[in-house]
Symmetry: C2
Subunit: 421 residues, 2 copies
């Protein structure tokens, strides 16, 4: 008898909970051994992983997937090697589990320590890219969390082949096979069923577009950490080093337009606009950037600038398009960002310390930059070694989510017989 989807998910949840209890007690050496074994297996099984991927790509093409989607799902031997290397890189990262966050004594002699522990069971729901299977699994494994993965249908065979290498690596190191499980169904109902499994799953992280995140958020009974859009702005202050400002704008817009920490908006103080904008615009145009501007920007730069609508200030282009507005003051820049931005990554360029402090204090974003490109809002660039995403939430994790953000904590209290009076 084949189990129905609800029973399959119930079983996966129960197995994950049991595995998480073993993982919580695993040593760093054991977890690293599993990671090394996983990397070896990915390399060893490259041919069968590539065959599974080829079947995915052919099925996707037959189903009329866009070439962009097919490209994201496609693996080759170089990408396989990169996947194995990413897993191996996690071996070298410090294990946060067991570290003491703080400790203190109470007047009654109780000694309290706050110690990092795994979260427990983490659900990851993702789209397209098969490398998420191993990236997410290796970060969860390193932090002692069991993980339930649910990838997209366009990569189901690739994901299953990779998940097999991961489970095999776990058992090779004496860890439970169910430490990492992939939901073996592309049925959309599986997402809703996972979101209801709050008796087993402690946290769900959706990695994908807005529609996926909203679907998970509206049905989830457990905490969800969201990685929403970045509508990021750069403000060129009246006291900016204009050469620096231009270099940062070009980097923040052009280096990787599809990244969430690239800017979509530039705000320029009116006192420097006439001096700054023509040279900066020429450099942007040279790189193929379309500029959409407010009336003052158009007055300075001319008709080549597309008129910006209210919608432009609130759009994550993820493309070579930049909305530009001339503002009268730092306060107006702050108000603009507060009303239109997504509280992700924003930056000020100025030599005026006071203006910088006002901006850093008042801008309510996960990361606020002064004289630096907001492209640095990234786990790797922050020195976290790896990241599972950039949280746009304010609870538990905000900004880059590294290994520490994949842990919880517990209090250990040692006494000598104290009772409460």
């Amino acid at each position: 008898m084949t189990l129905g989807l609800p029973e399959v998910l119930e079983q996966i949840g129960r197995q994950a909970a049991a595995a998480s209890r073993v993982l919580a007690q695993a040593t760093t050496a054991q977890k690293n051994e599993a990671l090394a074994a996983i990397a070896r297996r990915i390399e060893r099984d490259a041919a069968s992983i590539l065959a599974a991927n080829e079947a995915d790509v052919q099925a996707g093409a037959a189903n009329g997937l866009s070439s962009a989607m097919l490209d994201r799902a496609r693996l080759d031997s170089k990408r396989i090697q990169m996947i194995a290397t990413s897993v191996r890189d996690v071996v070298d990262l410090p294990d946060p589990v067991g570290s003491v966050i703080s400790e203190w004594s109470r007047p009654n002699g109780l000694k309290i320590s706050k110690k990092r522990v795994p979260i427990g069971v983490i659900g990851i729901i993702y789209e397209s890219r098969p490398n998420v299977t191993t990236d997410a699994a290796s970060l969860c494994l390193k932090t002692g969390n069991a993980v339930i993965l649910r990838g997209g249908s366009e990569a189901i065979r690739s994901n299953m082949a990779l998940a097999e290498a991961v489970s095999g690596g776990c058992t090779e190191a004496g860890l439970p096979e169910a430490a990492v499980q992939l939901v073996p169904s592309t049925d959309r109902a599986a997402v809703t069923l996972m979101a209801q499994l709050d008796r087993y799953i402690h946290l769900i992280i959706p990695r994908g577009g807005r529609a996926l995140i909203e679907a998970v958020t509206s049905s989830a009974r457990m905490p969800v950490i969201k990685h929403y859009d970045g509508i990021c702005a750069l403000y060129v202050d009246s006291a900016a080093d204009l050469r620096m400002a231009e270099q940062i704008v070009i980097n923040a817009k052009c280096q990787r337009p599809s990244a969430c920490n690239s800017i979509e908006t530039m705000l320029v103080h009116e006192s420097v606009a006439r001096q700054f904008l023509p040279h900066c615009a020429a450099a942007l145009w040279e790189r193929g950037v379309e500029i959409r501007g407010d009336p003052l920007t158009r007055q300075i730069l001319g008709a080549k600038v597309v008129p910006a609508t209210a919608q432009d200030w609130r759009t994550e282009y993820l493309d070579l398009i930049l909305a530009v507005r001339v503002v009268q003051s730092l306060e107006q820049a702050v108000d603009h960002i507060d009303a239109n931005g997504s509280h992700h990554s924003d930056s000020i360029v100025t030599e005026d310390h006071e203006a910088a402090q006002a901006f850093l204090n008042q801008i309510d974003s996960a990361a606020v930059f002064w004289n630096a490109s907001p492209r640095f809002n990234d786990g790797g660039e922050f020195g976290f070694g790896a990241e599972i995403g950039i949280s746009t939430d304010r609870l538990h994790a905000r900004g880059p989510m590294g290994l520490e953000e994949l842990t919880s904590y517990k209090y250990l209290v040692e006494g000598t017989g104290q009772v409460r009076g």
Copy 2:
């Protein structure tokens, strides 16, 4: 024209968001000034608050509320004074906002600091006790959060009178009146509407019974921090100091049976059961405790012990009842707690350091105690000064939630023109 409930809540949400931006920039002195003004107003307006409360109690009695509920809703001049004192106590607590959690530099010269900021807008949904209005408001205010309160119908007039004192205190100190708002409706639909206001409210904390928490969790689109039951256990190890064990059991069961950190279960190692149980049971019986036991416990203590069912191991009695089981080993105690407990507060009594470490490591609870009463799992006892509750969640806050747990953080990054390569 009167606004409908959805429009009222939309307006409350928008006002809270605007107030939160002002509060985030408020100085500690300003927030303390508001708290002092609130305490003064509560004392000054005691007569009208008591009159409102009297109307609540009379309406509740007319509606057939239980005397326990009426008692929880009832205020007198002593309770009013305690409420004012509680608000004033928050003045002396350190303000976590603005403190630097960590800071470091990157090889490229970027200086990164992780700084505490308010969460933003917090929704509190609670039942019965009017003092939650001022307790929650003062902790949120101190941490720079705007708060939307939704109390129960049995205390609506008292809550409104107290909320008026709070808003008045805020404006007196130059802070927005909407820093603290009370939903002026006892319609149950208001709870669901609040839970959908994720564009304004960043966190909801339900304070009440399981039914309330589940209703909020299933409809909420924003993070919810839950304060569920405590099914707490005390394990008396083979190497326990038996006199200490008895004192801790009596404290943990009898000092305040209705508290979530009181024990419901005692597990006793078989090697000490015959020596320990008779004396301990006599002391418990003397204090009116009913003992429900497994067969071995009954064999030792006799027929006065009620046979324990499987349900007894999973029940939060909140009463003078204790389930007792004799176990063969520490492992069996850990398995029992893992299978039946609620991961809240558990305790081991032993002189054996190795056994203690095994228990502390393996028990997956918010607070694990060694030779101390689990009744110490409390914000005040931990030295947090105050608490908004004891979280049974694993994300953002676990265990006592003090002022730090009412904050988020942001990253501030200072550069000298760095761009990403």
